[in-house]
């Protein structure tokens, strides 16, 4: 008589939206310098990732790694875990993501970020823009204060969301390894937001679906499996379209 499947999704909503959004208010107030630095690091990384053929691929990966490390400790562990014990089971995934990003940065042939003009690039860029520019301020439309903004780089949801965009903007073998943790988090976040009656849950679900679809397209077109050459990394070809 120990059936865990007896529970429904709503049973695991342990907190109210009021308490949830207060987490961001408190973090943004107490750690404002770190939050701002992480946001700027995200903007810089996004700008570099959008530019075709930029050679700062390792910088982007290191910045993302630092951002994930900060979001893991600063938000997930310090603020979110006390009100949601389920998060403790996902936190090791955040550590894995940090390490994976560092491993990719240290590889002889790291991922190459850049606009390719294909559907995956459009999806990746759109997700990045939503995560960094739009998502943090959706709360304003719902009457929440600016201080409660969920900023990319610190808040887990936009950080995971934006990372999906970064990975879609990248090219190189094994890049899909960077997807499971942010995908799982986005699905988890969507479920949480759904039971809290927050419409933004749809954005997370759509991003998950688009990422999986784009990844499948890339796999089909050989983008994912084709190994980058040193020449490509050093001197990227011009945009074909």
């Amino acid at each position: 008589m120990t059936e865990w499947w007896d529970y429904g999704l709503a049973d695991f909503l342990l907190f109210s939206p009021r308490v949830y959004y207060r987490l961001f208010e408190t973090m943004n107030s107490v750690w404002w310098m770190a939050v701002l630095a992480a946001f700027v690091a995200g903007l810089v990384a996004a700008g570099m990732a959008m530019r075709h053929g930029h050679r700062g691929n390792r910088v982007i990966l290191v910045l993302l790694s630092l951002i994930w490390a900060w979001a893991s400790y600063g938000f997930v562990w310090q603020y979110y875990q006390p009100i949601n014990w389920a998060v403790a089971y996902i936190l090791p995934g955040f550590v894995i993501e940090v390490l994976l990003l560092l491993v990719f940065a240290a590889r002889p042939l790291p991922l190459r970020f850049g606009w390719r003009g294909d559907l995956t690039s459009y999806v990746g860029a759109a997700i990045m823009v939503v995560a960094i520019v739009i998502y943090p301020f959706v709360g304003l439309l719902e009457g929440r204060d600016l201080i409660q903004a969920e900023l990319f780089g610190s808040a887990a949801d936009p950080t995971a969301l934006g990372t999906l965009g970064f990975v879609l903007m990248a090219r190189g073998t094994w890049r899909w390894l960077l997807l499971p943790v942010p995908l799982i988090w986005c699905a988890f976040a969507a479920a949480t937001l759904w039971v809290m009656d927050q419409q933004i849950a749809y954005v997370m679900l759509i991003a998950v679906w688009l990422t999986i679809f784009s990844g499948w397209l890339d796999l089909k077109n050989g983008v994912t499996t084709r190994r980058l050459t040193k020449a490509e990394l050093a001197d990227p070809p011009p945009i074909s379209d």
Binding site: L23, Y79, I83
Partner: protein, 313 residues
């Protein structure tokens, strides 16, 4: 258990030791200070011992899970203060409720109210129950609970014997089991029939009345106290009734709100010992406690309450 005529056990209200008082309740003294004098309110007996406890308690699901946010912790302390000042005693929590246990411990420490509370918590694990209870004690900053329950019957084969052992060793006063949302009714019935439980916790309100058919009569028959969770369906019942005028007959019960009407509906059931509404508002905590004063509805009026609410939602 034989089928019990519903009318028969409705008549048993007196046997359960209802002691209503019309004594005026002061609204909860806001922001901290506990009053020494406790208002005289309706108390109901725990059948296994005869101990009388206030007929309304305080739940902590969602409302007390505020993490390390000190401003919100202090708001919770205001709720607890208002609850105690209005005569309340039973506070219920669970390891499942995030930081709620810790926050309750904070409130009791802040108010110096460990001697005022009827401490009610749960064991919710298929692993080491004793380890979890030890952690729960630390969070509440208490050495002995009044009541521990097996939460949603999880790991009951291990956890129920553990709770009985703690009770036998004097480390616990009462043993119970809980379910919610009408789940696992068959399992619950089996446990109620086969074990000497002090308490059972179930979902019950004027809309979710399935427990009236069998569980409440069984509890009455077996001498098991009943704690009622989700009296307002997690608040959604009150949201749906918001703005609707109270029925005329509510004036006879001296109720000020739908919340009080629903609580009186529950308290008046002879099997029910204590509904445990949750709130983040000190005024609501005091208002809920005022449902445990004055006249209670009779059988006919309870049916009217259920009918009116059934139509409105």
């Amino acid at each position: 258990m034989s089928e019990i005529d519903r009318r028969r056990f409705m008549q048993g209200a007196g046997a359960l030791g209802l002691s209503a008082s019309l004594g005026a309740l002061m609204p909860g003294v806001a922001h901290g200070a506990l009053r020494k004098d406790v208002p005289d309110i309706i108390r109901k007996q725990v059948p296994s011992t005869g101990e009388a406890i206030p007929a309304v308690g305080l739940g902590s699901w969602i409302t007390f899970n505020v993490g390390n946010d000190m401003a919100l912790r202090d708001q919770c302390a205001d709720v607890v203060s208002a609850f105690f000042n209005a005569g309340g005693r039973m506070i219920d929590s669970s390891p499942m409720y995030g930081s709620a246990q810790e926050v309750i411990g904070y409130c009791l420490d802040k108010l110096g109210a460990h001697d005022r509370v009827f401490s009610t918590d749960k064991v919710w694990t298929s692993g080491d129950g004793l380890d979890q209870i030890s952690e729960t004690r630390k969070r509440w900053n208490t050495r002995k609970f009044d009541l521990l329950q097996v939460h949603n019957l999880l790991g009951i084969n291990d956890n129920l014997p553990l709770l009985f052992r703690l009770k036998n060793e004097g480390q616990l006063r009462y043993v119970g089991v809980t379910t919610s949302h009408g789940r696992r009714t068959e399992d619950l019935i089996a446990v109620m029939k086969n074990e000497r439980l002090d308490f059972v916790q179930v979902t019950y309100n004027p809309v979710d009345r399935k427990v009236e058919e069998y569980l409440l009569p069984l509890a009455y028959d077996r001498g098991i106290a009943v704690i009622v969770n989700r009296p307002f369906r997690g608040g959604s019942l009150l949201d749906q009734l918001e703005g609707e005028p109270l029925p005329e007959f509510a004036a006879e019960l001296e109720v000020e709100s739908w919340a009080q009407l629903i609580l009186k509906y529950l308290i008046a059931h002879p099997s029910v010992t204590c509904p445990i509404p949750a709130t983040t508002n000190p005024a609501h905590a005091a208002e809920n406690m005022r449902a445990a004063t004055g006249r209670l509805p009779d059988d006919k009026m309870r049916e009217q309450i259920a009918a009116v609410i059934g139509v409105l939602i």
